[in-house]
């Protein structure tokens, strides 16, 4: 009697054909992201590896050396698909449609021997389930890498210190302020104050979605540190709802200069440094006089 591996080996082309059919018939197939030839090549590689591993009689542990090629290929495919923007369903369907085709072929071949068929299906089912778990693991890991990289990028680009005028720095804060970010913001700001010798720093919080007592505390800390360095700090961009929250929470910002907009903060900064912006007579570019 033929062993499972032999039966599968004999029907390799049929399995591949059925598998390809299954994959291609799936309405959600993204032929815009991957060509059919590429899919065929990947599938053949994967099936070859799988059959070789099954021939060694290993149905349980997909982390054994026989499965190395299969798992490698699968990880490769999953991670590429995660990066290319495939949905989890599409990625999962890849292994699950293989299961379907293998089982279909087995059913055809073992019509007379149901007990062997049952055993074989159970084994293969188990094996392919394990492989699909691996697919999801890798897929999600790939996605998480993307998310982590984006988080890093966001925190890097979101704390620029801008020199708006000689001796005046502005720091637009975008996104939620947590302890870690406050630390970065504070360090950047203080270092920039030292580098440029600025007297005034404007913290613009129009991009901060919500201010709670913790965020307010972080802001107060930043302002205090700036003051210790010998510079003045103005907080601007306080929206109506933020002002309401601050008052309702009973946060005392009376020691801090606050302005509604960056423009008025800049105006205040000019008057603090005895600067004045005037319109010139001949309506040329505005000139600054001391």
């Amino acid at each position: 009697m033929n062993t499972t591996a032999q039966v599968l080996e004999k029907n390799r082309e049929r399995i591949l054909e059925k598998w390809m059919q299954n994959q291609l018939s799936d309405a959600s197939l993204r032929d815009d992201l991957m060509t059919n030839d590429e899919l065929q090549r990947q599938s053949r590689e994967m099936l070859d590896g799988l059959l070789r591993a099954v021939a060694k009689g290993n149905y349980d542990n997909i982390y054994d050396t026989e499965f190395e090629q299969v798992t490698d290929t699968l990880r490769d495919i999953s991670i590429t698909r995660a990066r290319q923007g495939f949905s989890p369903r599409e990625t999962g369907a890849y292994v699950l449609s293989l299961k379907q085709s293998v089982i279909e072929v087995l059913v055809e071949q073992r019509q007379d021997d149901t007990s062997t068929l049952y055993k074989e299906i159970m084994q293969l089912n188990n094996l392919l389930d394990n492989l699909s778990i691996l697919t999801f693991e890798t897929f999600i890991k790939g996605r998480e890498e993307v998310i982590l990289r984006q988080t890093d990028e966001i925190s890097e680009i979101s704390t620029p210190v801008i020199r708006v005028w000689d001796g005046i720095l502005a720091l637009p804060i975008i996104g939620t302020l947590d302890s870690a970010r406050t630390q970065v913001v504070m360090e950047n700001l203080l270092q920039e104050i030292v580098n440029t010798g600025s007297n005034i720093a404007i913290l613009d919080i129009s991009g901060v979605p919500a201010v709670d007592s913790l965020v307010a505390q972080h802001l107060i800390k930043t302002v205090s540190a700036t003051r210790l360095m010998g510079a003045e700090c103005i907080i601007s961009g306080i929206r109506a709802e933020i002002a309401q929250t601050i008052v309702h929470l009973g946060i005392d910002l009376s020691n801090i200069k606050t302005k509604a907009s960056l423009a008025s903060a800049l105006h205040l900064a000019f008057s603090m440094t005895n600067l004045e912006v005037r319109r010139t007579e001949r309506s040329k570019a505005p000139k600054l006089t001391r």
């Binding site: 630390q183 504070m186 360090e187 203080l190 270092q191 104050i193 030292v194 010798g197 600025s198 007297n199 800390k221 205090s224 540190a225 700036t226 003051r227 210790l228 360095m229 010998g230 510079a231 006089t289 001391r290």
Partner: protein, 136 residues
């Protein structure tokens, strides 16, 4: 015993701390400085801590004490050149040095002292003339 020199510059006293302050040295400095203020009748004290990289709560308190004592003796205190890391540490310790003036460097600190005390000093008139010149 080590001592931190206190320099007299016109109506001001200038202290540059160039070594790490340990507690005894800080206490000695506080003592010496207040004595100098009373001896010279200085109107302003400028403390440069630009080379100090480590501070603790004691040091923060000493700075606060010096400022309060000087104010009683009619002298303003300006701490200049605090490093970012030091500023962050002090804020984390909850010491915001209320009542102490701060400036970025010695030059700006001197300017600040001059403007704070400007009303009572002879320099006043000259300074205003300078500003007038610049306006022209």
């Amino acid at each position: 015993m080590e001592r931190i020199p206190i320099l007299k510059m016109g109506p001001f006293l200038l202290v540059t701390i160039q070594i790490d302050l340990y507690d005894r040295l800080a206490l000695t400095l506080e003592n010496d400085l207040i004595n100098m203020v009373s001896q010279t009748g200085a109107r302003g004290v400028l403390i440069d801590i630009s080379t100090v990289s480590i501070v603790d709560s004691f040091m923060g308190r000493i700075l606060g004490n010096i400022a309060s004592m000087s104010r009683i003796m009619d002298a303003e205190t300006v701490v200049v050149g605090m490093q970012p890391a030091v500023a962050i540490t002090l804020v984390e310790l909850g010491l915001t040095l209320q009542g102490v003036y701060t400036a970025l460097n010695v030059e700006k600190g001197m300017e600040l002292l001059n403007t704070k005390l400007g009303d009572n000093l002879e320099l006043d008139d000259e300074e205003e003339e300078d500003q007038d010149d610049r306006n022209d």
